[in-house]
């Protein structure tokens, strides 16, 4: 433990290390909402941090997806066909449908600038849920809520288009 005097020497402006930035990003996602911090940390230990160059694909439309992602830094464009659907930035969470099934990706994700993205693979989430059924239930409930909310939003936008 640090002595009170040493705290004076800690630099409050120092940038956070990538691990704590990743942990924080995941804790703020709807997937890990209301999940205790130690459990979150255990799950985030299993995520994979990957770096992308501008123009590099994270995944392509139609490919089998097995992971959800959180953007740690940089910008990611989501495209379906030739249309740009969204532009995502740090802290944004996407690709969560792949945490439930093998269905092909409904859109492509491309790095617009140099980006760092943290991935949670479905098989690792399944292992985590098997080892911690209590926390797993809460995570899966959050996932279900998230997917239902997206479904409602999709239905509403379809109704407006009509």
């Amino acid at each position: 433990m640090l002595s009170p005097q040493r705290h004076l020497w800690l630099n409050p402006f120092r940038r956070k290390d990538p691990e704590s930035a990743t942990r924080e990003a995941w804790r703020n996602t709807p997937l890990l909402m209301d999940i205790p911090a130690p459990v979150c940390h255990k799950l985030v230990e299993r995520t994979h941090l990957r770096h992308y160059q501008p123009g590099e694909y994270l995944f392509r439309e139609g490919e089998a997806g097995v992971s959800a992602a959180v953007i740690i830094s940089g910008k990611i464009a989501i495209e379906s066909g030739d249309h740009r659907i969204a532009e995502l930035g740090p802290g944004d969470f996407f690709g969560e449908a792949a945490l439930l099934q093998d269905a092909p990706r409904s859109a492509s994700a491309i790095a617009e600038e140099e980006a760092t993205v943290s991935f949670l693979v479905r098989f690792q989430l399944e292992e985590f849920v098997r080892h911690r059924p209590g926390a797993g239930l809460e995570i899966m409930t959050n996932l279900a809520r998230l997917l239902v909310a997206r479904l409602h939003r999709g239905n509403r936008s379809e109704a407006i288009d009509e």
């Binding site: 994979h48 990957r50 997806g65 097995v66 693979v121 098997r130 080892h131």
Partner: protein, 341 residues
Amino acid sequence: MKLWPVRMLTGAIIALAIGYLLQPIWIAALLCVLFYLLLEPLVSTLQAAGARKDLAIAIALLPPLVGLVYGAMHLIDSARDYLPQLGQDLEKLQLGISKTLAEIDNHLAIVMDVRLSLAEQVAALELDLRGAARAERLLASTSWLANLLLNLALVPPLAWFLLRDYRSWRDRALSLLPNSQFELGWLMYHRVCARLQAYLRGLVLQALILSAITAIGFQIIGLPSPVLLGVLTGVAGLVPYLGPLLAMLAPVLMMVAGPGLDPGTLMEIVLVLAVGFGFDNAVVIPFLLAGSVNLHPAVAMLAVVIAGHVGGITGMVLVIPLLGMLRIISETTWRGLQSSG
């Protein structure tokens, strides 16, 4: 030019190189993989119930390790007691074979009026089983036993580390994949593992069920060492087509070397094996192994014969599971790479 054939070839070469390097400890490696496949669900269940990972592994590993240590001690004791009288027993076995063949000859001569002179023909082959007990062969057997014991001693620590660290090793290995192959790599790994685990667990269960049925049968008909004979039958059952014939060897030789083999006992042994293998073919294989490998019968027979020539009984037992694993890995990898374009 597509890169995936090159990658598959590289993967195959790396796998072969690792296999070659692991050659001296293949028994330990095989047992560890089997322990992992069988015990990993138990470790997960214990962890889900709140046990710490190390404690869960210890609880799961303890019973099979106690069994393994007991088996090794038994093996050492048996070898120490048995080696000095091996020569006498082999002589007895040779006499027993000659006597049984003479009896069969007489029986055929009386019933069918045919005289094959089997005993004389076998004697003409100069089959000298006592040669197996010569000093250099005994020395080779002792070195084989020492290697086996070394392999068995390696099992507990290797199994422990495999159960504890396998996932982190896997995660590190898969994180080496390039960005474009990251998700595909995980998907293919998962599919290969799911099929392999189902197949290997099915094989182990198949061997256990066949061992149990035949051990009970041998106990009922009063053969000596029914459990050992049951285990040997379970292992022989892994060899397709030739399994029932291989399974007959041990009990028949044991009876020939011991109290003698009469037609009635031979029929009882055949009946026990028929019940065991009948249940295996009618119930166990369709429910546990159906559709998991489906090797063509011609390929399977050819592989068994070649493996028998190269690696003896061990090769015959291992070749089909290994071919099955190879087929699952190559099929799944092929499909995954083709679907990725």
